[in-house]
Symmetry: C2
């Protein structure tokens, strides 16, 4: 076999390719095409541009890298291994896609140090990247000084055709262009192949022109397979343009190097197989054993360790100066990135009594946000074009806009899904920022993939959802949540809270903030309509998920369980029933998840097994409620779509009345 | 009050405006800004271009109109009333947004004849419009003859800024450009205002350039407020370009005519109020009583009735000729649009016995689709770039592509949400077409808003979802459904079916097709992995939602309830338990919804109250299962996110084994 001598660069690039090929072959599962085609751009990026410290992957000022085309994860694992991260050893690569490995089938930030965000569901990564760039721009604007630059890094994203077809990437790219996020640099692996074959079958738009329309700086590397200089020059040009994000279209050949499978869908999502690997080795002049990396390549790539130490040392010098010159800012910065909440932050949260004015819980949410914003400078967020319906403006903190990155009110536009993924990116920046995103509860359907990813990838995003039931009213069934709360409760690791009054709203925010700092997302559902306050609701009660707000002596004859706006129906019905000599407990149950986290003794104390006559009252589906009311209990619920009418009329017509609660309760009591 | 004489056109346009203003004022709820600003373009479109018959709203060859900016629904109701639809009387307009009216807060096709699709959730309407245009192009290609044009109509869509910010609209617009749907004409009400204020806060991209990038024909009407000729000329130009969809940007002033609120967010979503209405009346020279339409305007607009009768008569002439010259095609066309299924269509669905080879249910799904495609020419659909994973190709029926519209395999690209909304549009074309859309089950999260709308708006779309559990394997938690099935079961009017073997797949398709013709969507969940067949499963059993596939004499000691891939665990566990002398029933429960539709006697016969020892086995969350296993029952389930490993390993590690089923069953048996 006559093999041309390979340059060091070729050796490094082929090292990436063959780590991917060999790992995928061993697993008989994976996507070799992208790593093979995108290896040159990834090599140039990681070897010549990326500032990171493999031995301290969380070093604050690192450039962020997102592989939005997450199915090509072997590309990322190869880079992590070659540059010297401890998280990905060669043994881990040999365990690609196996139980318990650090090299799962898509990049998972919570599994593999060096992976910034969880990708795989297409389009999420680039939108997360926008969030990472938002976090950088925001912190830079807040903390950098004319003489000392503390926060200064790029966010690099590799996207594929699939990412660019997804609507969420368009949403995020549009707002990123609007914001002019100059340190966001996206490399588009333009390989013309998706799973169904040539992109000619479904994707013939002019992507570059579209990104120009979004206000991006757009470049094209015509030969991404071998023209490393062109790739490097493009990244340089991207960095030189500071007021626009850059999209570099890098035209590549999927599965580059494979004589028979390159440029076909056959190499997108399946191992090459022994014969083709043999031919690919010959074709690329690779005669190393599987998983063997030539010393020259490894030692070259591992220079990243030394470079990383030097980057970090440099930054530490700046940081030391900063601490001396700007001690207050330094203290705040340190607290932020430490992930610690300021002492006594939760004291600002108000409580209420029955004498306080009835208000919509969305209004209480506004109060909480505005009380918290001054004491929690990490709070940043906004709404998907419903600011004054969601009531999410934090007053006095300005609008986050191009050149106004220090501000904390974000206008996401009508882009729920993009908002969700951007918030996740802000949370996963790891700088202590707590992002919140708001829309009508029903439109969680638009951003469900991002909400799920907040739960999966441990992003402490806070989802502020208003207009949480048919009480929404006139907008009608397209805008009225029915199954929405249930569908969100079903998501693992997501805490859903539906508070009943002002005090419970404070309780909800207390949990949401605490959980955000524990990398757990919370979704809060607030009413459009006014609700009375109670003197027996409590912040502590919310923390336990469910608790009695009206009680009786001894074992209750019946337990009424209310959430959110329907708690008041339960309380009123209980008054009548008590007047009729019944022993009634009313349980406020703002959060199933928080209740499930309590011990069995507490749960039994709230919902004793002995009491089988239980009635839940919630303006939503009965789906799932049998768990708490039991097979002998009943639900006041709505199991059909709603209707357009004033909210009060909807509530009445669909049975959310004291009379109906009483009727159902009495039917249970027999 | 000095008022200039109004032209007839101005009178008509102001009639639209004041119907909206008055209705919204009476309701104290609604969005007057869009109807006021878009009235001129709507007037020109409906008066000069739209072919429809108000007295036969379902006349087949009508132009379709979609108000994608559905919050402006008073615009549409005003048009329906003025042009003489029976569905919207002046009394109905006075009942805007009230309980039981035909004028709900967003357009609902199932409430108001003349409304084609349900809009309101932004971006859905334009994507539905793409589906309507697909249906037209497809039927035209199949049925039109060189000498007789049977199918020939435009699809007109009005979109707003909000629609254009949503990712789903971008997905749909991209694929519409790819397909070159020349009879799709979108008018973009470019009014620069969304709920948060000026679009400058979040939406500064060049929308026209973006649509050009998608391959659209793009026009601009600079003065959409008064330049009716320019609007008309633009629509003419749009019609003249037959190989591209057209987007006409019509720059307007939101709330045109209101002296103090025009061009502000204040008029977007709130009634004008008495004082401002007075000023607007003066400003526009309108001195008619509220809800009063000048005779000149009404009689002019009502000419639509005569025109409509003439359009229909013309088409009937063509149709009569067609029936004579092309009787076979005519018979097929007639059957299609009648919504009747062909005699005996379901006989092609195969059944299996325990001796048949174990196959993945996605493979059985492929068989069903390919058996059905020849006998059901109305079946049209495809996958979001996972054709060969979802196994949804119907062989021999070609790819639906530009100039190949007669074909029935649609490549949607990686655009799940767009796919969903396009399928809904095809279904709501009302021509008997049955659309199906496919992706991995987990990615229903991306298209949930469209799935919900299929259920709400009575679109008989079929959702073909594969890789339905952690059995999916190596792709890991981002690709493994956990809560997905539960979250879909929670949607009203959606039937979810998770078949266990080949025969149950046939049962699932039988229901899905029948329901599609009853305007009910069905979602089917299929396995990636091979599953054994049973001789006791049945098509009839699936239709009942749950039924015994293994049974005992007398009252069972325990009932094991399995769905999909986990039925086999139940059957094997039952063998062991029976061998140990227990009386065991195994219930296969492919569909909760179908089971709930059975009468109480049947339900009791399958799950008798007396048997409280019940164990559900489903590779998904336990959420909701208490309803069927009771508080004394148990679940073999997974209530956390999955992991990347071979599917069999995941199943085993997460407890989906016969041993674990046995252990839990024995614990219940005590």
């Amino acid at each position: 076999m006559a093999v041309a001598t390979q340059s060091l660069e070729e050796l490094c690039i082929n090292s990436i390719r063959f780590l991917a090929i060999d790992a995928i072959e061993k697993a008989k599962s994976g996507h070799p095409g992208l790593p093979m085609g995108a290896a040159p751009m990834a090599y140039v990026l990681w070897d010549k541009f990326m500032r990171f410290n493999p031995k301290n992957p969380k070093w604050f000022n690192r450039d962020r890298f997102v592989l939005s085309a997450g199915h090509g994860c072997m590309l990322q694992y190869a880079l992590l291994y070659l540059t010297g991260y401890d998280s990905v050893s060669i043994e881990e690569i040999k365990q690609f896609r196996q139980w318990g490995s650090r090299t799962p089938g898509h990049p998972e930030n919570f599994e593999t140090s060096g992976v910034e965000v969880t990708t795989g569901p297409l389009g999420q990564g680039i939108a997360n990247g926008v969030g990472l760039a938002v976090a950088e721009a925001h912190l830079a604007a807040r903390f950098n000084k004319p003489d000392l630059t503390l926060v200064d890094h790029y966010t690099y994203v590799i996207v594929g055709d699939g990412c660019n077809m997804e609507g969420v990437s368009g949403e995020a790219a549009s707002i990123a262009g609007h914001w002019g996020l100059g340190k966001l640099i996206v490399l588009y692996d333009d390989n013309h192949i998706s799973i169904d074959g040539s992109t000619d079958v479904a994707f013939t738009e002019d992507v570059s022109k579209r990104f120009e329309a979004y206000g991006w700086h757009v470049l094209h590397v015509e030969n991404g397979n071998t023209d490393l200089d062109a790739i490097a020059q493009a990244i340089e040009s991207a960095k030189a343009v500071t007021d626009k994000p850059t999209m570099i279209k890098v035209t590549t050949t999927i599965g580059y190097g494979s004589p028979n499978k390159a440029n076909t869908a056959g190499i997108h999502g399946a191992a090459l197989g022994g014969d083709e690997i043999k031919l690919t080795r010959e074709n690329l002049g690779w005669n190393h054993e599987p998983f063997e990396i030539p010393d020259d390549a490894l030692s070259h790539m591992r220079k990243a360790i030394e470079r990383g130490a030097s980057y970090e040392a440099e930054w530490e010098t700046t940081w030391a100066q900063y601490k001396t010159k700007y001690p207050e800012d330094a203290a705040e910065f340190e607290r932020l990135i430490s992930g610690k909440l300021p002492e006594g932050w939760d004291k600002v949260l108000p409580t209420y009594t029955a004498e306080d004015k009835a208000l919509a819980t969305r209004k209480h949410s506004e109060t909480c946000l505005n009380k918290l914003a001054p004491v929690l400078p990490e709070l940043i967020g906004g709404s998907a074009d419903l600011t004054h319906s969601n009531l999410t403006e934090i007053k006095g903190f300005g609008d986050f806009q191009k050149g106004q990155y220090q501000n904390r009110n974000i206008h996401f536009g009508v882009r729920e899904h993009g908002m969700g993924a951007i918030c996740n990116g802000i949370a996963l920046h790891g700088s202590g920022l707590i992002p919140y995103g708001a829309t009508f509860l029903i439109f969680t359907d638009y951003m469900r993939a991002a909400i799920r990813l907040s739960a999966l990838s441990q992003a402490g995003s806070i989802w502020v959802m208003t207009h949480d039931s048919i009480g929404q009213g006139e907008d009608g069934p397209t805008h009225q949540p029915i199954e929405t709360i249930a569908s969100l409760r079903a998501i693992p690791n997501l805490t859903v809270i539906r508070p009943a009054d002002g005090t419970e709203c404070s309780g909800a925010y207390k949990m949401a903030i605490e959980y955000a700092h524990q990398a757990r997302p919370t979704l809060m559902a607030f009413s459009r309509q006014n609700l009375p306050n109670y003197s027996t609701t409590s912040i502590e009660g919310v923390a336990k998920g469910a608790y009695a707000v009206v009680d009786c002596e001894g074992t209750p004859d019946i337990i009424l369980i209310g959430t959110g706006s329907e708690l008041s129906l339960c309380v009123k019905a209980a008054e009548t029933l008590t007047g009729e000599g019944k022993k009634v407990r009313v349980v406020s149950m703002p959060s199933w998840e928080l209740f499930e986290e309590q011990d069995a003794v507490y749960r039994e104390s709230v919902l004793p097994k002995a009491v089988t006559k239980r009635l839940s009252v919630e303006a939503g589906t009965s789906f799932g409620w049998t768990k708490y009311v039991g097979t002998e209990g009943d639900c006041v619920s709505i199991d059909r779509f709603g209707a357009s009418a004033p909210g009060g009329v909807c509530m009445e017509k669909f049975g959310f009345t004291v009379d109906n609660v009483l009727a159902k309760a009495k039917a249970l009591l027999g």
